[in-house]
């Protein structure tokens, strides 16, 4: 490969400038919130080992990543046709394998068994806790948003609102908020599951009826506003929601049915199984919906709202349904979080949460239930790992830089997600053929 051509050197220059910019912008090693310009500080003497340089010299890390990217892109530039031809079968493999019924059942069986025995192999409580809070709950959130964004094609930037509603409903009904529980009668946390889910669905309808008349960008803005309102409300209404400090400890989930008593205690493992149960319930329910007349009506609206109306589909009704159904699993995620961590506060439901869930959905494959679940596991696991071990000079505030890069690479090589939904893939392919690919329009589901 020829590295010294004009275009290759141009790219090298661009990569070097990018590395310099990133170094300046992201601050010194270990410097969380340290102002810019300090990235060049740090001592060579602190760690002499090779990997030590990554940790102490940020510029070295970014320069290395930049040069790797440059080498890869130069190589790809020369051999793109060959690479694409060789990669095509490999990239299509997951979808092809999943198409066979037996393969699907075998895979499902393997997943179920692995999930059931996983707690036996994770010995650190800390990681078990992370698996429930950072992966389990986020699978639920991603599955719910997938109904809205993936099935019905509505860009919702405020999904965290339903998560917050589930959590605060739990705190309210168990009577741990400053405001007394409804009818001054706190109820057990387990009963909050139907209540939290139901309230989230009702809020989905309330928000949906006025706003779902809007299309594309406008809808995204309104949902964003809704999430900010909820965020602001729980953060500032100290008398009602406990403000920034949030709620007192929400009681643990407990079953008291006749002779049978069980309490979800400190150990995260029982929560893990509770979460698993509901992930399965939502997986089955959303799969059933996808292949029902409701699911087909969603596809019709997503593909062409005008044509859908002309065959008697009421777009508003089905969009509100998508909002409400999606909110259900978001609401349950909130209830589970409240029961698991006890003290809930507004930082858990910030705007960032909505964006993160959307990233999971895009990464996994919009409209693909299994893709979204697997995408959530991968992204959330890697993120949790990076956050807690911070290998190779990784810092907390670098996360979105890498996620941004990941999404750009995804959009180039696999725009329909890691395990694409067949329908979505066709849409994107058709779009690329017709319009040479304006993916942003596919993403917002807005054809006008």
């Amino acid at each position: 490969m020829n590295l010294l051509t004009r275009s290759s050197l141009k790219r090298l220059l661009a990569v070097l400038l990018m590395s310099a910019l990133v170094t300046l912008m992201t601050g010194a090693p270990g410097g969380f919130g340290v102002p810019a310009y300090t990235g060049l500080h740090g001592s060579f003497l602190e760690r002499v080992s090779y990997f030590g340089l990554f940790a102490t010299q940020r510029w070295f890390l970014f320069l290395t990543l930049g040069v790797i990217a440059w080498l890869l892109s130069t190589y790809y530039q020369r051999h793109s046709l060959t690479i694409r031809r060789r990669l095509e079968p490999a990239l299509a493999a997951p979808t092809r394998v999943m198409q066979r019924r037996t393969n699907r059942w075998v895979l499902i069986a393997v997943v179920v068994v692995v999930t059931l025995v996983l707690p036996k192999f994770v010995h650190q409580q800390f990681w078990m806790y992370l698996i429930v809070e950072q992966i389990g709950v986020w699978i639920l959130l991603a599955l719910g948003l997938n109904v809205v964004v993936g099935f019905a094609g509505l860009l919702d930037l405020g999904f965290a609102a339903f998560y917050a509603i589930g959590a605060y409903a739990t705190a309210w009904f168990t009577g741990v908020l400053p405001t007394p529980a409804p009818f001054n009668h706190p109820i057990p946390t387990l009963w909050c599951i139907p209540i939290g889910v139901g309230l989230a669905m009702v809020f989905g309808i309330i928000l949906g009826i006025p706003t779902l008349r809007l299309r594309g960008d406008y809808l995204a803005i309104v949902t964003l506003g809704f999430a900010l309102i909820i965020d602001d409300f729980v953060g500032t209404q100290s008398g009602l929601t406990g403000g920034g400090e949030g709620s007192l400890t929400v009681p643990k989930f407990a079953v008291n049915a006749g002779p049978f008593h069980y309490t979800w205690g400190i150990s995260p493992t029982p929560y893990y199984y509770l979460c698993f149960l509901f992930v399965v319930i939502f997986l089955v329910a959303f799969t059933a919906l996808e292949y029902s007349r409701v699911g087909r009506a969603w596809v019709a609206i997503r593909e062409d709202e005008v044509a859908a109306e002309s065959i008697g589909i009421n777009p508003l009704k089905y969009k509100v349904m998508a909002f409400s159904v999606g909110a259900a699993s978001g609401g349950f995620g909130g209830v589970l979080t409240a029961g698991l961590i006890g003290n809930i506060n507004p930082t858990l439901f910030q705007y960032q949460v909505s964006v993160n869930v959307l990233i999971l959905v895009i990464f996994g494959g919009m409209g693909s239930i299994w893709g979204v679940a697997i995408g959530a596991i991968i992204v959330q696991f890697v993120t949790s790992y990076l956050d807690n071990y911070q290998p190779w000079g990784y810092q907390l505030n670098d996360l979105y830089m890498y996620i941004g890069a990941l999404l750009i690479i995804m959009m180039i090589f696999r725009p329909a997600g890691i395990l694409p939904s067949r329908r979505r893939q066709r849409e994107i392919r058709g779009y690329e053929e017709d319009y040479e690919g304006h993916l942003d329009e596919v993403l917002t589901g807005d054809e006008l």
Binding site: L289, R293, V299, A300, E303, A308, G312, I313, N314
Partner: protein, 268 residues
């Protein structure tokens, strides 16, 4: 004309967009069971008329009524598009608007499905009523694909069909809703001569075999003259002539609108 035969009655409809008058005092009466064509030069307001009848546009003046066999007289203006479609007015579009990522079969099946009610519980549990509904719409879809001769393409993705086949699929999807009248917006646009012949016979069969009245917009005069029993001519948003194909062919106002020279020459 016997009033009992009236299917769609458009009376004195005026449609404006700001200062632009798209339809001016348009009246049109369509009888049950006829093939009626609306012709006119580009920009004459033909598609605006269709959009007014299907509830996409809301005319400022006039009335449009639809006399269904199944329901009381429906006043169209102010109703939502999907309500009008459910009442029995179905349509196709000038530019093909299929659900292009779905298969040919799914496209028609969506049209055949009952979109009333909530349907969530039924879709989740898949009880006997849901399964019965699924079977019924499957049957309708299969039967209609046979009717438009696309059964062998049932599992093809809609976007991969040829242009003529897309046109036929659109007609099948529109028929799947069980309409009493079907509005065809330039069904032959962009098709080749042999596809045009197929479409002509298909449209006639829609009326003859399925008893669905047909309201047609078309540029292709050969197709219109072969199919239509009556023709309305629109020009600059107004109806300038109405009659059988033979009458329209020799009508001076129509010739004038299409050629635009007759009056100038006579007045000069």
């Amino acid at each position: 004309m016997n009033d009992g035969d009236l299917l769609i009655n458009v009376e004195n409809v005026t449609l404006r967009f700001g200062g632009v008058v798209s339809l001016r005092d348009v009246s049109l009466a369509m009888r049950r069971g006829e093939i009626l064509a609306v012709i006119g030069p580009n920009g004459a307001g033909k598609t605006s008329l269709f959009n007014s009848i299907t509830g996409v546009y809301q005319p400022q003046e006039g009335t449009i009524t639809f006399a269904s066999n199944r329901a009381p007289l429906l006043s169209v203006i102010g109703k939502k598009t999907h309500r009008i479609a459910q009442a029995g007015v179905s349509r196709t579009f000038q530019a093909s608007r299929l659900f292009s990522a779905l298969t040919v079969f799914e496209n028609v099946k969506i049209g055949a499905e009952d979109h009333g009610g909530i349907g969530l519980a039924g879709s989740l549990v898949k009880g006997p009523r849901t399964r019965k509904g699924e079977r019924a719409s499957d049957r309708v879809a299969a039967e209609l694909l046979n009717f438009v001769d696309l059964y062998h393409e049932a599992n093809t993705i809609a976007s991969q069909l040829s242009y003529g086949a897309r046109r036929r699929l659109e007609i099948a999807r529109a028929l799947a809703t069980g309409p009493e009248v079907i509005l065809l917006d330039e069904p032959a646009a962009g098709t080749n001569p042999s596809e045009k012949l197929e479409l002509t016979s298909l449209i006639r069969r829609v009326r003859d075999e399925r008893g669905v009245s047909v309201l047609l917009i078309e540029h292709d005069m050969k197709l219109v003259m072969a199919l239509a029993e009556r023709i309305y001519v629109l020009n600059f948003g107004s109806i300038i002539a109405e009659g059988t194909p033979e009458e329209i062919r020799v009508n001076p106002a129509v010739i004038d609108a299409y050629l635009g020279t007759a009056t100038e020459e006579t007045s000069a």
